[in-house]
């Protein structure tokens, strides 16, 4: 029981940390591959990350991940120590990326509560082979190598094969105390004190365990690290440590004498050089991550991870407060009174609440860079497989978008980038014939545009062949209009239809005609729009327009009878009071209005939603012209109440389950605490048509 109690939050932490580490690793490898050599920092970095993954996986009893990480660590240990000159960089990257993929799959299994049962023996074998390959390739002394190899294999307690009896062994022990045992620093000191009975040659991190209170925190997070030189065999030392009270986990390993001495002397440097000291807590992979090497530990700790549910709750509360504030400052009891001091104080209050609201909103905003950087990997894999040289250009990756939206657009972006490379770009030979630069370019750009974010995927490939597109559409019976009437935009949008593919051959990556259909569904789910533009021979541009946040929209409040509705301001084109003679009624009783020579259908909201209202004559109410997807409709309401930013809340689940109401996007709270329903313009239009 107590086991479960501990492992649940730990598992969560483990998954989180390892995912971060793996992402970091991937980025690191891809960066290095570009310059086709591994820098010393990169090797150290990979080594450290692998070490962390290995340690934490072993602790969580995920043997396969741990042993794979161990093997990769070995490899990089060798590279780090021996610095061999002849490394096949791309093969190395392939190997490590394969390893990363394996870990990712296993992590996914763990996340879903399945058994992490993948078999990595083959991969480990490959890595071993590679390691021996570079060993032979390098001109290092064989004897030294043997020693290294020998040592590396004896590395870790979890591997269970330990037997060293030579005197003067150097060990490194990391002790983790049980959560909530308190006074970790004193416990750590006791361990050191006991150790002094067997050996004098000890040093430990953090130092000054007793004197400084903050060491408790460090020990809790990173464990207590002891280096010792003692002439006892591994087992005995291990047993000694296992006697420690409240011990949760122990990592005991041998270190070389050089490492020991090196660590011992420049004590302050230990923090940077010790491979163990890396369990970083990083919430958001932002720019800082790029400068990870230089980021000190304290900077890392300034980021904390917060459950999104808590943020939602916080936002609800702030929304509540804004309403409460309005209820106080605009209280009807105050009417007619002149209260100077009260007015001053309430202005102050309003200022603070609005700042608070902005702040809460900004917490949810995350830069797009993580999503963008994931594309590097796709581009790399695809360019290798397809034999096309591709350069991925990222612009405006620092653009911030609501976290929920980021999650939604990651898959569509991947599809689009794949499409751009597979369908868009020509092969290298064709490009050369066409006198285009040999290397194809895919540009991924993000920028703010009002309350929207534009994400643009551009390639300089062959573009879309309109004729071919129309032909395929005709063959599949997807055309609903005569071809001559279709605008370019409409033609290009055909590619978003399900089951549409002009590609003759289906490849591993694309061409099945399912991708684009999914893309548009995902984007529309977050209220975004996708449009395609293309010039044959020059390239294709796909533009995704997504709202900055799902949580707040600019809305126009309208009233129909006693009900209030909110329309997204972006959809409104104009509002006006019609004259009777502009109204046209056709024989089917459909009402229309003529505005500037164009005829638009009218939808009476009170009729549509069955609301009782006194205003049924067009000349008494107001018409609001709304547009979505180039379709326009006029809504008839009693009056406009005014414009305001509203916090979008979804309708209660019970209602959603009972019935799907077309034309409603959600609801929101108005300043006076009453509820307004947010209209979904797209839904209204399609329903009317």
């Amino acid at each position: 029981m107590s086991n479960r109690y501990i492992s649940e939050p730990m598992l969560e932490m483990y998954i989180f940390e390892t995912t971060q580490n793996v992402e970091q690793l991937e980025k690191c490898i891809l960066d290095n591959e570009k310059c086709s050599s591994y820098s010393k920092e990169a090797v150290n970095e990979i080594f450290r990350i692998m070490h962390t993954i290995k340690g934490s996986s072993a602790m969580m009893l995920f043997g396969n991940i741990s042993s794979l990480a161990h093997q990769i660590e070995d490899l990089f240990y060798y590279i780090r120590e021996q610095n061999p000159q002849f490394i096949d960089c791309s093969a190395l990257s392939d190997l490590i990326l394969e390893g990363i993929d394996f870990i990712k799959v296993e992590l996914h299994k763990i996340k879903n509560g399945e058994e992490a049962d993948g078999d990595c023996q083959e991969l480990i074998g490959q890595i071993k082979q590679y390691l021996s390959h570079i060993r032979q390739g390098s001109q290092e002394e064989l004897a030294q190598e043997k020693e290294t190899g020998h040592k590396v294999q004896q590395y870790y307690i979890a591997s269970g094969k330990l037997n060293i009896t030579a005197s003067g062994n150097y060990y490194k022990a990391v002790i983790y105390f049980e959560d909530g045992c308190e006074m970790e620093n004193i416990r750590a000191y006791t361990v050191v004190h006991n150790l002094k009975e067997i050996t004098e040659d000890i040093f430990f991190i953090p130092e000054d365990v007793i004197d400084k209170d903050d060491t408790v925190q460090i020990i809790r997070e990173k464990g207590f690290i002891i280096y010792l030189n003692v002439d006892k065999p591994y087992e005995e030392i291990h047993e000694f440590f296992m006697q420690t009270i409240f011990l949760k986990a122990l990592e005991l390993e041998e270190v070389s004498q050089e490492e020991f001495n090196q660590l011992k002397r420049p004590k302050h440097k230990v923090v940077e050089t010790s491979p163990i000291k890396v369990p970083k807590v990083e919430v958001i992979e932002n720019k800082e991550a790029e400068h990870r090497e230089t980021v000190s530990l304290s900077a890392n700790q300034s980021i904390i991870s917060v459950n999104v549910n808590k943020l939602d709750k916080l936002m609800d509360l702030v929304g509540e407060m804004v309403i409460a504030e309005a209820m106080v400052t605009q209280n009807p009891d105050l009417q007619g009174l002149s209260l100077d001091n009260f007015q001053k104080a309430s202005r102050q209050l309003r200022k603070i609440t609005s700042e608070l609201q902005d702040m809460v909103m900004s917490i949810r905003m995350v830069p797009l860079s993580t999503t963008f950087h994931k594309m590097h990997r796709i581009v790399r894999d695809m360019s290798k497989k397809l034999g096309k040289e591709v350069n991925l250009k990222l612009i405006g990756e620092e653009t911030e978008v609501d976290k929920n939206i980021i999650e939604q657009i990651s898959d569509p972006l991947m599809h689009l980038v794949r499409n751009a490379i597979d369908h868009g770009l020509e092969t290298t030979e064709v490009r050369q014939q066409l006198q285009k630069p040999k290397m194809g370019t895919v540009t991924l750009e993000a920028k703010n545009a009002g309350s929207d974010v534009l994400v643009i995927i551009k390639d300089d490939g062959k573009g879309i062949n309109k004729k071919k597109l129309l032909e395929t559409a005709r063959e599949n019976g997807l055309l609903t209009k005569s071809e001559d009437e279709m605008t370019d935009k409409e033609i290009y949008n055909l590619i978003f239809l399900p089951g549409f593919s002009t590609k003759e051959a289906v490849t591993e990556f694309s061409g099945r005609g399912v991708g684009m259909d999914v893309v548009i569904k995902n984007i529309e789910a977050v209220g975004g729009i996708v449009s395609v533009d293309s010039t044959e021979g020059i390239g294709t541009v796909v533009t995704i327009k997504i709202p900055l946040t799902l949580a707040i929209i600019d809305g126009m409040n309208i009233r129909v009878g006693s009900s209030r509705y909110t329309l997204p301001t972006t959809a409104i084109k104009q509002s006006f009071r019609p004259k009777q003679e502009e109204i046209i009624t056709d024989p089917d009783e459909n009402e229309m209005i003529m505005v500037r020579g164009q005829c638009y259908p009218i939808m009476r909201l009170h009729k549509y939603y069955g609301v009782r209202t006194a205003v049924t004559d067009f000349t008494e109410g107001i018409l609001i012209m709304v547009e979505q997807d180039e379709k326009t409709i006029c809504l008839f309401a009693d009056e406009l109440l005014g414009q305001q930013q509203v916090v979008v809340k979804s309708l209660p689940n019970y209602i959603k389950e009972t019935k799907h109401i077309t034309g409603l996007a959600g609801c929101t709270l108005l300043g006076d605490g009453s509820i307004s329903l947010i209209l979904d313009v797209g839904g209204l239009i399609s329903n009317h048509g």
Binding site: Y5, L317, E320, L651, P652, T658, K659
Partner: protein, 163 residues
């Protein structure tokens, strides 16, 4: 260890809630609802109508920033609608993550009715008693114990959809 304690506490809490019913009136009948489902009782509030919903779901209300649907139990039982007054209450129940307000004529009290005092309702040929889980006897009075799940899950609508 800690989990054990919370578990114990939880069980204890569940124990104290077991066998207790919040009773409310609808016309001349008294109904009971298991107290473990009830989160709070509030007075009648301005209700925002939502179009296209079944008649008994009156709309949504703003419960301190949380938006919950409200259901008129009278209409749910096909009784006649009665204008809301200051005795009218909304009983907020929480079931399987779903919060919903039940509009009732008035709330009476919390009663402990042991299981032995609850009998299964007589098997009527008409489908009327599907919302009633049991009939509790308290002194000379009879309380109709509601089946919350049935109340919320609209089987009629489902069956209609299936046709």
């Amino acid at each position: 260890m800690a989990e054990n304690e919370t578990q114990a506490l939880f069980e204890q809490e569940e124990d104290t809630q077991k066998g207790k019913y919040l009773t409310f009136t609808l016309g001349s009948e008294t109904y009971g609802i298991e107290i473990m489902y009830v989160t709070e009782i509030i007075g009648i509030q301005p209700i925002t109508e939502v179009p296209e919903l079944p008649e008994h779901v009156r709309g949504i209300i703003n419960l301190r920033g949380k938006i919950i649907p409200v259901m008129d139990v009278r209409l749910r039982f096909k009784k006649q609608f009665r204008e809301y007054n200051d005795r009218t209450c909304i009983v907020v129940v929480d079931m399987r993550e779903i919060s919903i307000g039940l509009i009732v004529d008035g709330v009476s009290e919390v009663l402990a009715i042991p299981d032995t005092e609850i009998v299964t309702p007589p098997d009527m040929s008409k489908n009327n008693n599907k919302y009633i889980k049991g009939i509790g006897k308290v002194g000379n009075e009879v309380k109709l114990i509601l089946n919350c799940h049935k109340l919320l899950n609209d089987e009629e609508a489902d069956s209609l959809l299936n046709i």
